[in-house]
């Protein structure tokens, strides 16, 4: 159930993020989600692209340092307490979430969160057992 996230090493300087988004735009790559974790000198740009392989190739060909990581895209009902329910399930099962961020827009009536955690497939099964939807790559329009 896991989907591929691309992480790119980004130096903190004006215009660097633009260079990456320009590169992706020029290659007709659409982003489903984006997040930046930063330190004072550099940041990690995390993206979910519609075509992971192509995005990775383009980035590497242009000298960027990039790697892929398995993440889960989990549905969060668009109601008050939606995220809370999800986190309760994870906490009860003692699952440690490294980081999370949300996907742009809505694929359906739900909002979707990207979760990075160890043992993605086991956690996906656990969530589904608890009635929580984990989106497939197809559902999110990802190749």
């Amino acid at each position: 159930m896991a989907i591929k996230q691309i992480t790119v090493f980004l130096e903190n300087r004006a215009g660097r993020l633009l260079e990456i988004t320009q590169l992706l735009a020029d290659n007709k790559i659409d982003l489903r989600a984006l997040n930046i974790a930063e330190t004072t000198d550099y940041g990690l740009l995390r993206i979910i692209a519609d075509d992971t392989e192509k995005a990775l190739t383009v980035l590497k060909e242009n000298g960027a340092i990039a790697t892929t990581t398995d993440v889960l895209a989990v549905a969060v009902p668009n109601v008050s307490g939606g995220l809370n329910t999800l986190l309760q399930v994870l906490a009860k099962a003692n699952v440690d979430v490294s980081y999370m961020y949300s996907i742009f827009g809505h694929a359906d009536e739900n909002a979707y969160m990207i979760l990075q955690l160890a043992e993605a497939d086991e956690v996906a099964a656990l969530l589904q057992k608890n009635g929580i939807t984990v989106a497939t790559a197809e559902k999110l329009g990802i190749n």
Binding site: G63, I65, T67
Partner: protein
Amino acid sequence: MANYYQKEMECASREEMVALQNERLVAQVKHVWDNVPYYRKKMEEKGVTPDDIKGINDLHKLPFLTKDDLRDAYPYGLLGTDLKNCVRIHSTSGTTGKRVVAFYTQHDVDLWEDCCARAIVAAGGTNEDVCQVAYGYGLFTGGSGMHGGSHKVGCLTLPMSSGNTDRQLQFMTDLGATIICCTPSYAEYLAESIHERGLRDQIKLKAGIFGAEAWSEEMRHDIEKQLGIKAYDIYGLTETSGPGVAFECSEQTGMHINEDHFIAEIIDPDTLEVLPEGSQGELVFTSITKEGFPLLRYRTKDITVLSREKCSCGRTLVKMHKPMGRSDDMLIVKGVNVFPSQIEAVLLENGYPANYQIIVDRVNHSDTIEVLVEMTPEIFSDSLGRITEMEKDLVAALKAMLGIYAKVRLVEPKTIARSEGKAVRIIDKRKI
């Protein structure tokens, strides 16, 4: 049981050695004054004549020679005798500017080979050994120097020269070489090739004498482990003869300088003051037995420390520490000497690439040092925690090596400018 090649010199008492150095220095200065107008002029400019030099305590009165002098005087300006008395030349690799050419009389060659023989004997060599000389032969001093030394010891000498690894390994196994002389990096390469070909059981090597390149203690241990030998360091430079100016004994805690031929001094590279024994500074050599190419107070640019601590091998010759770096790329940050080579060693040990840049600045009257390191796919990961942890470890390792805090900045690949040939490693923004 320690062996010596020339025990009376190698184990002479300090008094005997000083008496010999006094006598030889006085004669050498007179020889230079009479035969080398280039240096005589330098002495005259400083108001010094041979009469002022009565022994090694007067050495500090003499002017220095630098590599620039050797280039200015190229090719014959520092020649110390008629060319008809010379039998050979050697030359530096000439990577920077003009080449330097050194001249040798037969007597010079003879003494030089004695120095190399001392190194071989100190490494356990006898006339029962098979000595494979895999330094380059030719203009480079490594091959001929060790070749001559090996002859003097009476080893069966394999004059291999450098390269052609297949042939090296064939002779090494077929003729049972017991001593190998080459650069440390080539020794590493040979060791790798021996493992790849499964030849370890057929190798009879017991010792290696490695020099002509900077190498670390880590590299020594690696070579010793891989080849099952004891690895000895040897020091020299073409300007003063070649390998054998100093050599390591079984104690492996520094190289004994052949003081009956060379007087060593340590100076402050900025003030040019002679520093007390035990201080770290630039190594300066004065030849005292040379005919063809006598150099007085030649600045080597190598930074080291001299030690007269009693050596377990019985030799009384002063020891020099493996050079820590070159004075021309030494930085002084917060009063501490910093060498790019130290930073490079730390980076490599911690899994970073050796492509880096050091930026020194002065912020609020205080020096800062920042090391830029390029991120690589091998060390990159999605975990910010892991990257910052690695960074922290690197900062700690740099602090342990340098004694001061150096900031580390991870940068994207190819952001550190590459230049043709030598990389620009240091950017000093301080306005002092």
